[in-house]
């Protein structure tokens, strides 16, 4: 069974080029373009890993989506790679979770941060590290 990657980003070019790369490397893919759609797709069928953009201007950004996904019993352990366009996004996210969980600042519900632009080999390596090859 090929492993499945859910790609979530409101940038259509990013989603489609990433799909091309992952499919060529034997992964199955599904896509979503906002937080709500991502959550819906996760509820339909839990993927093996999620690539999640932080700053989506439409319904539900990446922070919201990651919290929602982590709150679902069957999806709470799926690896999430959080994608950021500006490094500051990652700082913002860390700040957000530190603020919300008080003293436990180590709690960030994503596994890896990657800053755009992302090298194809780096992305494949991170996915491989988290869920193995397709």
């Amino acid at each position: 069974m090929p492993k499945e990657v859910l790609i979530v980003d409101d940038d259509f070019d990013f989603v489609e080029t990433t799909e091309i790369v992952l499919k060529s490397n034997g992964y199955e893919t599904r896509t979503a373009h906002d937080g709500e759609e991502a959550l819906k797709k996760v509820m339909e069928k839990v993927p093996d890993i999620i690539l999640l953009d932080i700053m989506m201007k439409t319904k539900g950004d990446g922070i919201w989506a990651s919290e929602q996904i982590r709150s679902k019993e069957n999806a709470k352990d799926i690896p999430i790679i959080m994608i950021t366009a500006v490094n500051q996004d990652a700082d913002m996210l860390k700040f957000h979770f530190e603020k919300d969980v008080g003293t436990d600042s180590s709690y960030i519900p994503v596994n890896v941060f990657m800053e755009k632009p992302i090298e194809i080999k780096d992305l494949l390596a991170e996915i491989k590290k988290l869920i193995g090859t397709s």
């Binding site: 259509f12 990013f14 080029t17 790369v21 060529s24 700053m55 201007k57 319904k59 366009a85 755009k116």
Partner: protein, 294 residues
Amino acid sequence: MKSEDCKIMDSECHLNRIENWHNNFESDISLMIETLKKLNASSIEATEECSRHYTNTIELTKAKSSFTFEVSHELKAPLASVYNIINVILDGYLDGDINKQKEYLNRAKLRIKSIIDLLNDLLVFSRLEERANELEKEEFNIAELFASIIEEMTEYADSRSIEINWNLCDDCPLIYGNAELIRRVFTNIIHNAVKYSRHGNKVEVTGKIDENRFLLRVEDHGIGIKEEETQKIFDIFYRGENTRRDSKREGIGLGLSLVRRIVDAHGGCIKLKSKLQEGTTVEVRFPEFQKEEK
């Protein structure tokens, strides 16, 4: 007896003097109280003034830093996508499919174009911010300006199956201003009306003289925005809640804030009325050219 009289007079004198002192003292005190009150009031005023300045400065700094953040984001996201597209082609993922390669190169080109547009907008923006009074202005004919706008906008509207009705005055006035920037105002407003219209809608564009001013009214029957958003829509990078839901209506929102700055710099005014799901009407007025204005 004499001396007794004197004594009485003395003490009367004394009493009078005391009374005088008392009166003087009283008026001095009330003067002092008045002065203190005034001082107090002016110090409260000064404190309030200081705190107002402080708040303004903080808000300005915050606005500037969030502006920088937004601009970085709006520039970096498309650049990252172009980078991705190039990598996918260079790494051979689209080998053997020349049409796909062309399609993605075209997308990269569009993204680069949007980055250049944004940078140009930012340059105009900062030029207007720094020296609005030093704009190169000339007298020009609105009708001539519209000849090229009609062509460009009709082509864009056709691509979206929207019809534009042009009702322009036969005897259009001369306007004194920067033709390139005013063209940007007109095209931006019409472009928005088409962009936020629904398939098959009509857009009405009216240009006429109205109380010694040139009035352009652009009316669409598109998705509209909430009434409370009509002022915010002129803020940098602000996009109506309604338009953000549809990622295909791309755009980064520098448009209307830039439009307003250009209109202001020409002594004009702009108004926007909108109803959610019913449409938007934008009216922009420019002073008609008069010889003495030159």
